[in-house]
Amino acid sequence: MPRSVPPWETKRQLVVKAEDKTNPRYGCKPEDRTAKDYIKYGVINLDKPAGPTSHEVAAWVKRILNLQRIGHGGTLEA
């Protein structure tokens, strides 16, 4: 049975279908967002400590950053 390739080892190339430019008046590069938007559309690569559950850890981050809503990607049991 050949070992299947994990998603992070899959190589993808970009292929062009048509050419066009983007107007600098609208939107902005993700790294150029204002602080408020940067947080609102942000993700934290958190190192979860042992003990508390994933939900508890997420709730702490929510309180530290004083946010309304927060989510986490994949429960890591306590």
Binding site: T10, G42, V43, I44, N45, L46, K48, P49, S54, Q68
Partner: protein, 255 residues
């Protein structure tokens, strides 16, 4: 259990689905309930490098029905007495506790999961911008004191980073606002796209500035999309960008 737990803030919560399905990597200590030779343990670990069946454990947050999960690799690291250390790369939703139990059954002596650390969740890898709760609290306070946005970037990354492993389709400015209103993506709006997109697979729709517009389901493969002149290319599933970010370039019946 410790390790990588990506936290999505406010609007970025909408991409959680993409993270749940993404692959994971763990380092695990498995405790054997009897003696087994290292050769035997290594051989049995190799047997699990496959598509396996798993029923979620009693204490689980999902429906307990038998399902299949891919184990991409299990790399044996070391063994000391009855403790076995290994690294496992697997599909999202694989229960490592269950995996250890099943390995123990095949070995015959029984086994359980002793320690677990997640070293990868999709594109998020241990050591690449990983922060602790203390870092978050400290740097957020520093940012509030100093007002320097560089500090914020130490702890927070744009949600687009979380979509790094999802195949992307880049679209024209003129197609953006229609997608933000929930429309499906049609062929003329497509500028470029990544290889290996399959029909029905998850894709991310991006602007040329690298902003995520929406998550969508591909309705054709990369090759098919390249040759299409009209027709639907992707079905919009989750809109990420607020309406009105880009100008409205479509005709409505009311005007």
């Amino acid at each position: 259990m410790t390790g990588i737990l990506p936290i999505t803030l406010e609007e970025a919560r909408k991409i959680v689905q993409a993270l749940l399905f993404s692959g994971k990597e763990y380092v695990c200590v498995m405790k054997l309930h009897g003696d087994a030779s290292q050769n035997r343990v290594e051989a049995v670990l190799k047997e699990f490098e496959n598509t396996i069946y798993q029923r979620p454990p009693l204490r689980a947050s999902v429906k307990r029905q038998l399902r299949t999960r891919k184990i991409y690799y299990i790399d044996f690291m070391e063994m000391e007495g009855r403790n076995v250390l290994f690294k496992v790369g697997c599909e999202g939703g694989t229960y490592i506790r269950k995996l250890c139990f099943d390995i123990g059954e095949v070995l015959g002596c029984g086994a359980h999961m002793q320690e677990l650390r997640r070293t990868r969740a999709g594109p998020f890898v241990e050591g690449e911008g990983t922060v602790t709760l203390h870092d978050v609290a400290y740097w957020f306070m520093e940012w509030q004191k100093q007002g320097d946005d560089k500090i914020l970037r130490k702890i927070i990354q744009p949600m687009e980073k979380a979509l790094a492993l999802v195949p992307k389709i880049y679209i024209r400015d003129s197609a953006v606002d229609a997608i933000c209103h929930g429309a499906n993506l049609t062929a003329p709006g497509v500028l470029s796209l990544e290889t290996n997109i399959q029909k029905d697979s998850l894709v991310a729709i991006f602007t040329l500035k690298g902003e995520a517009v929406a998550l969508a389901k591909a309705l054709a493969s990369t090759e098919e999309i390249l040759s299409m002149e009209h027709g639907m290319v992707a079905q919009t599933k989750r809109v990420l960008m607020p309406r009105g970010t880009y100008p409205k370039c479509w005709k409505s019946g009311e005007t």
